[in-house]
């Protein structure tokens, strides 16, 4: 085999376009967006550099230096600096935002000083050109002693030359360090080199400043003694190094970069910001955007949803008619198709929701929301950065919880993780929609769609309870470390429509297929459980009604009650009766623990079994009657059910990610319990008050 796999890491400041380049190189579709801190974990993919050379590309979280201050930065730093790391690269490509070269080069020169093979990719040249920034690429390359190439990752320009340059610089280590760090600390670095047994000044400096590098166990003690003897205080030493490094960088920048007029070109962003972060208007705009979101999700998606509904009912009818009658027909129509139909109908809503979020993320608005909410959030033990997990929690709690990695204070990060699942995620959307359409009239209220308003109220309930719980936790969780809010506000960008579109397609796919798989599996199990009964129960029921005309309805409902599913449901009914739920809802609650959106599929399946009419789940549920002949789904039942879903922690994936991110089983357990108690109590109170 003549081919060779190269490991190439993409490093750089946050928001410099690393992931965009990663996607261009690998053809993958990792998430990009216009605010710092989108990527919070390593992602790898393959790229073909030439016929002979296959490369493994590693996308890293953004970082400003090799001295990490938060967990995402640490992931990046450990990959680049620690030879023991499984992804330790052969070549590091530093992606620099050309409009922000000074700061980008800072990280770059630190990596040069580690004596690694480095290539500098000057990204966003399109924006730099518009701003009148001119960079002398050749001179810059000579000054830094490494290859430099200008690219536009978004449009894929310059990628070919980048690949060529990478191939040509395999094994080409920088000839000399950029900053002679040993000169700043006379003699200390040499001693540290000796202790570590490695001739690498900057690495030894990092080790002296308590950074974890390979082989640490062997030298840590001796090194600590050295820094004590020489009175090296890491913060001070780093400050000294940083100032010196920047002084040298400024010389390089002055000779290679012709600046545009920075203040003038900031004008457009400034004008937009005059409105978006205006002391009063800013909040009005923020609320209006959210309001528009709910109206969109609710009203605009109503039409495509109706269409899907009609299509699916026809498909079910067609299948029922064209397949031979019998068990299999019943399983497919009333089990699988009923379950799936319950979920496919929500695709338009999911698409609108994700379109909105992707749009907000790619314009640069998120950083502004964070700016205007930091003060409020800090009061309740969170951080301005927490708004990003909270808002993206409206899509899905799993990536949202991971994005809390950018919060440097452990306490604030933990509280963010603990309350993010209270935000109404997209899996709750089908549940809310279904129940709202059952119990809330489709009237206008002050000119707005009433159902949309109720939906918004439930999202607000999620947000407010997240804030309240955060506030309580602030007093319970013991503090560790200091809290800062330091964030770059990116200039506004026109969203990349391709990115937005891919995000939507991707999310809809995940929603359909991931949920779809679970739903099919659960529908089958449910159908089996509700179509069979222990012993000869079904025969007894049939005999009991034998000869009585028009008894099909009674027979099938009695059968269902005595089926296995019925038995399970009945056994939990006493616990949920005070909330207004019957055993059928009980079963749906149980299956929801796999994922919330399964609720709709389960309801759909459970109410289809034994019902010969084929119609949508909404219409079916609207006809469900209580024993006294009244409608079963009263507003009291509906509100109680929605409150239960608003609070209950019914998501295995979230619990798993909370465990992974907090590294302690205690936190997911606490989360599960506190959310469960909230769910039960609020449903109980709501039902008792309303009925």
């Amino acid at each position: 085999m003549s081919s060779k796999t190269l490991k190439i890491a993409l490093a750089g400041n946050p928001n410099s376009g690393k992931t965009t380049l990663f996607n261009a190189l690998t053809g993958l579709k990792q998430k990009v967006g216009n605010y710092p801190g989108i990527t919070v974990e390593k992602k790898t993919g393959k790229a073909i550099l030439s016929e002979k050379i296959l490369a493994e590309i590693i996308d890293l979280p953004g970082t400003y230096s090799l001295f990490p201050k938060s967990m995402d930065e640490q992931v990046a730093q450990q990959t680049i600096c620690n030879n023991d790391n499984e992804d330790y690269p052969d070549i590091t490509v530093v992606i620099a935002d050309s409009t922000n070269l000074r700061r980008s080069i800072f990280l770059l020169t630190q990596i040069i000083d580690l004596n690694m093979v480095v290539v500098l990719a000057l990204n966003m040249v399109d924006i730099a050109t518009k701003k009148g920034i001119v960079i002398d690429v050749n001179l810059l390359s000579r000054e830094l002693g490494i290859p430099v190439v200008a690219i536009n990752a978004r449009q894929g320009k310059g990628i070919v030359s980048l690949k060529e340059i990478i191939i040509n610089s395999i094994d080409a280590k920088p000839k000399s360090p950029f900053l002679e760090v040993d000169k700043l600390f006379k003699g200390v670095i040499e001693q540290a080199n000796k202790i570590r047994g490695v001739e690498n000044n900057f690495a030894s400096f990092m080790a002296l400043c308590k950074q974890k590098l390979s082989g640490e166990i062997d030298y840590r003690c001796a090194l600590n003694q050295l820094s004590k003897k020489e009175e090296i205080i890491p913060e001070r030493a780093q400050a000294k190094e940083t100032v010196k490094r920047y002084a040298q960088i400024d010389k390089v920048i002055n000779s290679t970069v012709k600046k545009g007029s920075p203040i003038g070109k900031y004008m457009l962003t400034k004008k937009i910001d005059d409105v978006l972060i205006h002391p009063i208007l800013g909040y009005v705009v923020f609320l209006s955007i959210l309001f528009l979101l709910f109206q969109a999700v609710f009203s605009w998606s109503a039409y495509p949803m109706e269409l899907i509904d009609v299509l699916f009912t026809n498909l079910q009818q067609f299948t029922a008619d064209s397949m031979p009658k019998g068990m299999l027909n019943d399983l497919v129509v009333n089990g699988i198709l009923a379950g799936l139909g319950g979920i496919v109908i929500f695709v338009p809503q999911i698409a609108f929701l994700f379109a909105f979020i992707a749009f907000l993320e790619d314009t640069g608005y998120m950083a502004r929301v964070s700016f205007i909410t930091d003060k409020l959030l800090r009061g309740v033990g969170l951080n301005g950065r927490s708004i990003i997990p909270l808002l993206s929690g409206a899509a899905c709690a799993v990536p949202a919880i991971m994005s809390a990695r950018t919060i440097s204070s452990w306490k604030e990060r933990l509280i963010t993780i603990m309350v993010t699942p209270l935000m109404s995620c997209s899996a709750r959307l089908p549940v809310y929609t279904l129940i709202i359409s059952l119990v809330i009239p489709a009237d206008e209220f002050l000119g707005f769609n009433l159902q949309g308003l109720v939906m918004m109220v439930f999202y607000l309930i999620g947000f407010v309870s997240a804030i309240v719980i955060a506030f309580l936790m602030k007093f319970i969780i013991k503090s560790k470390g200091e809290s800062y809010y330091i964030m770059e506000m990116p200039s506004y960008k026109i969203p990349d429509w391709k990115t937005v579109l891919y995000t939507i397609i991707e999310k809809v796919k995940v929603f359909l297929f991931d949920a779809g798989k679970i739903i099919i599996a659960i529908s089958i199990v449910l159908w089996v459980l509700s179509s069979f009964a222990p012993g000869k129960k079904f025969e007894q029921i049939e005999q009991k009604w034998a000869g009585i005309e028009n008894a099909e309805m009674q027979i099938s409902s009695e059968k269902l009650e005595h089926s296995y599913a019925g038995i399970i449901g009945k056994s939990i009914e006493p616990a949920i009766k005070p909330l207004g739920f019957d055993w059928k809802i009980g079963i749906s609650l149980l299956t929801s623990f796999a994922a919330r959106e399964v609720f709709v599929g389960t309801m759909s399946t459970i109410y289809s079994v034994g019902d010969d009419d084929i119609r949508s789940i909404q219409k079916r549920l609207a006809d469900v009657k209580r024993q006294d002949g009244e409608r079963f789904f009263t507003p009291a039942v509906g509100i109680s059910l929605m409150l239960f879903y608003a609070f209950a922690m019914q998501c295995m994936s979230t619990l798993a990610i909370v465990y992974r991110e907090t590294n302690h089983i205690k936190w997911p357990i606490i989360q599960f319990l506190y959310m469960g108690v909230m769910a039960y109590l609020s449903s109980f109170i709501a039902f008792q008050l309303l009925s």
């Binding site: 002084a247 600046k259 930091d374 003060k375």
Partner: protein
Amino acid sequence: MKILAYLSIGAKGEMLDISDDLLEQKLLEMGCTPGEQFEVVRKAPFGGPIAILISSYVLSIRKEDAMSIKVKLLENE
């Protein structure tokens, strides 16, 4: 010498010194080195964070943290 937190929007200045060690470390590596020029561009309401334009990008920091940042005010051109 002035304190960054007290400057009003539009004020231009030059970084001098940051007294909080951790904050200093973080801001230094983001390019807020002594002598670097900046302009206060934004202040969040209710005593929220402030935003400065420095090194051709906009950086936001808490007002409380800006209390420990000493700056030199520059004459308006």
